[in-house]
Assembly symmetry: C7
Homo-oligomer: 75 residues x 7
Amino acid sequence: MTEKRPFDVLNNALNKNVLVKLKGDVEIRGLLASFDVHMNLVIEEGEELKAGELKRKLGTVLLRGDTVVFVSPAE
Amino acid sequence: MTEKRPFDVLNNALNKNVLVKLKGDVEIRGLLASFDVHMNLVIEEGEELKAGELKRKLGTVLLRGDTVVFVSPAE
Amino acid sequence: MTEKRPFDVLNNALNKNVLVKLKGDVEIRGLLASFDVHMNLVIEEGEELKAGELKRKLGTVLLRGDTVVFVSPAE
Amino acid sequence: MTEKRPFDVLNNALNKNVLVKLKGDVEIRGLLASFDVHMNLVIEEGEELKAGELKRKLGTVLLRGDTVVFVSPAE
Amino acid sequence: MTEKRPFDVLNNALNKNVLVKLKGDVEIRGLLASFDVHMNLVIEEGEELKAGELKRKLGTVLLRGDTVVFVSPAE
Amino acid sequence: MTEKRPFDVLNNALNKNVLVKLKGDVEIRGLLASFDVHMNLVIEEGEELKAGELKRKLGTVLLRGDTVVFVSPAE
Amino acid sequence: MTEKRPFDVLNNALNKNVLVKLKGDVEIRGLLASFDVHMNLVIEEGEELKAGELKRKLGTVLLRGDTVVFVSPAE
């Protein structure tokens, strides 16, 4: 088994589409532009989703790490 | 790929309009005047929004970092 | 751009009226008498508001920093 | 302006009546007997209030600091 | 004024009956058998209460400190 | 009084049946197989309970310490 | 008794199916690909469940450790 680390997922997802679920039932979809060790994330061309529907376009958005539930790169 | 960091978004947004989503379904819109490493933010000409509607004008407002969900600069 | 820091807002608001929003939909209005680095605040002539209405007069009140959502000086 | 610190409020309130609001809509009223830097508080002759009404008499009660919303000395 | 500290309440309550309120509206009543600096508590002959009514007998129970709201020794 | 510490309860409960209450009204029942200083717990032959009823059998389950409300060994 | 540690469960579950319960009633099922000391987890072929039903397929997903309630390897 090769050594893998959770943050590799973020590294590999840079400049690609991700879905981010935040606490409080908010989801953001867009391009992962940067992240840090606290899992603060910058999403570009970000869209806010509510119950799976587009709520509004946010453009660039900085997500605070401690509100992140999960990050899933688009396949 | 150039090295980018999440807080660059805040640096670039200084003196510009931002939308800040806080925990508990509160949103603040206004000019980003300052921030620190805890993501404490000062917004000037701040307006509090509830469900997307203007609830009241706050003027200057200090937002505590650990209540921030996301910060999105106006495009 | 001059160097500004979030806590300057508190410094400038000493002995002036502020509105403090706390987690759990409580708001306190009164004179900011002191604060520390944890954003613990002392408000004098404090009034507790619920849904924008005066709930009761508290006089002096110590607010624990980690329950603060925002602090907004009266204009 | 004299140098004041938030915990001075607790110091000055020792052996006096205080109202303590806790997270989750619980309030305790009684004599402040001791406190520490975590804002753990001991209240004597404590009464638990719910919606402003006496729920029960507790006598001595140790309140955990991180559940404190505010402490207000009786005037 | 003698020097008193909040944890003295726990020390004095060892082997005596206490009422412990936990976050999420759970209460435990029983004999305080031990505690540590995190306010982790061991209660013996513990009973879980819901809305003031006995929900079930637990016997020995270890309560995690960060869920504690208050501890009140029986008078 | 002999020196007792809260974690002794976990030590004494190894390989015995315990009931674990987690935040958010989830309970797990099963054999305590291991624990660490964060109160992370491994339960074997674990069953998830909801409102006192068996919801599903989980077998081995690692419980994250900071979601633990209490741990009670079966008598 | 052999020395066992909670994270051994994660180690033994690598590349196997796990069920992860997150705060806020979300569950993720899939292959555990990696983890770190914060219990950040990477799940591959991940599926999001709501009330036990498949809500959507996520593929690779990074779960933030502090939202984890429990991890249970499939038997």
